[in-house]
Symmetry: C2
């Protein structure tokens, strides 16, 4: 217990270092990981960056130091991208310098041939314990903490938000903030922990469950070393906050890849899934599903009390598809009473419309019709949310020409905001993106406006329906 408390304080210090040393940074044209971290810290405005490389006196405009000891300022965090055989010497330097955390990007420890893998790792851990610092990795991309200006790649969005992400994959950790920026997701802390030599998923789950800056926890996990500890950590986290888990390595080939990747002995999928189900977490099957559930949890507040959907959009085929997707995902598109259908007929054209729910109307150009339809639907007791779907026809004239008119976008957003004012039922959007540059600009403009207004935006009907169904199911069980 005491030990745990001490660890938690340490993790907190890891996330707000006073100075960062980047060992292995260089002026080479070729972007090594260390160089990318260096440039990323510069771009983010982190104040005390110290490149370390005996071959240079200056790297990308910053004074470069031959070793940690020669750095004049405080160094709390060290980013390491050097061959495995130099690891132990470097850790000795870290202890002397009094650092708090060392992140090893370097992979290939156990295959290096320099020392038996397990022995090397044990020696590293011993040095960390003796030196009073923590190790992140090896074989990972480490920390992204927007509030502290800590990033690892150029262009990463650095606004802070309420989502924490712990990831055994560096790629997923690196990509998530970029992939989700346009959907409006922002992060408190992202930790790629790789082989989990020291800092592991259990400690991170517990930490995030108490972190006041984190409201939602997402995790990518390939394998856990101690099932009982994981069970306890998950229990603690899931009792406090929504936890979304993407388990990599579900098939034989996937497990083989996970073992080669982070030396994870992935647990039995059935056991793992039973476990996370019991712990009231939300299971997803890929990174896109993870993002979609995050959008649902972040922007649908409160979550609906039921699964009834009022489905609105233009096009017969898309309306049929939308209905099928909703119901196959476990949502429900209730048939409207004759009385409600009559109300809708007041504001929609008879020809080319469907009134039964789904509502299909060629009047997509008329915010008044959309508004009136939503007002009517929002009063139907069986309907718990309004799902509005719109596609972008990149080349053809119809949808595209409308969305290229700023006035149309403005009035659409205004309408949706007004609907939000008059009902507690959430308005959910499925924007189907075009696969063409010509339409991308308009698509992004509409998405940006919707996201800025904090609407949940999904990129397909299926993905939106599945994410909403998962969030609602979690909410029902959780309460």
């Amino acid at each position: 217990m005491n030990d745990q408390a001490k660890k938690e304080i340490l993790l907190d210090q890891i996330f707000s270092p006073r100075g960062v040393a980047v060992v292995g940074a260089s002026s080479s044209q070729f972007f090594t990981f260390a160089t990318m971290v260096l440039l990323s810290l510069k771009e983010a405005g982190f104040p005390n960056i110290y490149p370390v490389n005996p071959k240079y006196t200056e790297v990308h405009g910053l004074p470069c130091y031959p070793n940690l000891q020669s750095i004049p300022g405080e160094v709390d965090h060290v980013v390491v991208s050097i061959p495995a055989e130099s690891a132990l010497t470097l850790l000795d330097e870290c202890a002397v310098k009094g650092v708090k955390s060392v992140h090893f990007f370097t992979a290939g420890f156990s295959e290096s041939g320099y020392m038996e893998g397990a022995a090397l790792e044990k020696a590293m851990l011993d040095k960390a314990k003796a030196g009073g610092f923590r190790i992140i990795g090896p074989n990972c991309i480490g920390l992204i903490v927007p509030k502290s200006r800590l990033g690892i790649s150029l262009g990463t969005p650095m606004d802070a938000g309420p989502i924490a992400f712990l990831s055994q994959s560096g790629g997923h950790a690196q990509n998530l903030p970029s992939y989700t920026a346009l959907r409006g997701l922002r992060f408190s802390k992202i930790v790629s922990y790789g082989n989990a030599l020291d800092v592991d998923e259990c400690e991170l789950l517990k930490y995030f469950s108490q972190d006041p800056e984190t409201e939602i926890i997402a995790a990518y996990i390939e394998g856990v070393k101690d099932g009982r500890r994981f069970f306890e950590a998950l229990d603690e986290a899931a009792s406090k906050k929504p936890v979304i888990i993407y388990k990599g390595g579900r098939t034989e080939a996937g497990k083989r890849a996970a073992h080669g990747h982070t030396a994870s002995l992935t647990s039995s999928v059935a056991v793992f899934e039973g476990l996370i189900k019991q712990k009231k977490t939300i299971k997803v099957d890929d990174i896109e599903e993870l993002i979609d559930v995050l959008v649902a949890l972040r922007f649908v507040n409160p979550l609906p009390e039921g699964t009834g959907v009022g489905l609105i959009g233009a096009g017969g085929g898309p309306s049929v598809a939308a209905s099928d997707e909703m119901e196959m995902a476990g949502l429900n598109v209730p048939r409207l009473s004759q009385a409600v259908q009559e109300q809708l007929k007041q504001s929609l054209p008879l020809a080319g419309s469907i009134f039964v729910n789904p509502i299909d109307t060629p009047n997509l150009t008329s915010p008044e019709a959309i508004s009136e339809t939503m007002r009517v639907l929002s009063k139907v007791p069986d309907i718990h949310m309004l799902f509005y779907h719109l596609g972008f026809h990149p080349i053809s004239g119809w949808g595209h020409s409308r969305f290229s008119q700023p006035s149309f976008i403005e009035s659409l957003i205004k309408t949706l905001k007004e609907v939000r004012q008059i009902t507690s039922k959430p308005v959910v959007l499925a924007l189907r993106p075009p696969m063409d540059l010509a339409g991308t600009k308009e698509f992004l403009a509409v998405q940006e406006a919707l996201v800025e207004a904090e609407f949940p935006v999904f990129h397909s009907l299926r993905r939106g329906a599945q994410a909403m169904a998962r969030a609602i199911a979690w909410n029902c069980v959780f309460r």
Copy 2:
């Protein structure tokens, strides 16, 4: 039999009209359907376009006629977008003019109140039979025939290709050529047949099965009126060519939407699915899946003889996900023998690589490494296809910076073409598109080069794996 033969001749004539009249076209700023068709025909270079509207003498630079009779040239096809109450009069004019086909965009016949729906439709059919012409629709967008320069919306790609699409939804018919242009798909004929008053799915299936310009048949169907006729038509088509069927209206809400859309009484899903399975067709569940299977059938020739995948890409997390997706879709990622793994280690770095299959290598920048890996894998008997996956990191420096170098793209394509030369095993690509303008340009450039070289390109691992699994399964059963 005689009647059938006559009908088929007629369909052929429908697809290459000498002149097209567009009834209801106007100079109004508001893009009506008729106006869009007119502009589309102009854009495509169709020679004899005749706007018909008594209110104008000229429409968009073309002489406009008050009625069909006053048109000086031959009119084979008439596009109609006028209220239902004028339909019968117009059909009388069509008979006098001696047209071959009339396409009714107009919806709302049965709800018009002008005449009982069924009675009106019967009267229309009678007039068509007496006048010796065919009716397409009502409630549809009609014909897209690139070879004949027949289109219905601006910007539709008008190169001809080997795919026919029959669609009960106008939206799907209109969008498919635009959605698929960048994936390299081109069409012989697209027919949106709506309520199927006259020309229906059965006749179209039979026609396309014998059409020398069509190699692959795709269909979107909400409901069929005569199960036995459909069964026979499908049997005939599927015995000659691959047939892909997307059945809309699979859930209660979807069926309700389909009924409101095309008055289809959608058949029992179980019965329908049993039927198309028995007839060796490929069933898909949405328009994206339909597109993906088309890409597989069009660009993987011949289809692999088995399900073994050699899986290549960069990133531990993505490799785990890739493996899971392949195996969950029914493909197989066989473990490589020690001997093959040793061969791979000759050309790939030890640190950060996975050799077991999947192959994960940070050497994505090296076409030599990719080439050598593919050469080794292509000789493994258990491996029937090579699946190469690459993601676009729109904002971060890694992937993006590589793909923005034309020389890298060039050498990548060259490498993949060389691999194709030395093995009969297909090279399949999963390009994961970025959700950001910054990366879209590079993504599209890479995709364009790959598609031009006739590689099958999918937009996610899951979608690629599912499409390949479906095409392979069909191929095995079909032979």
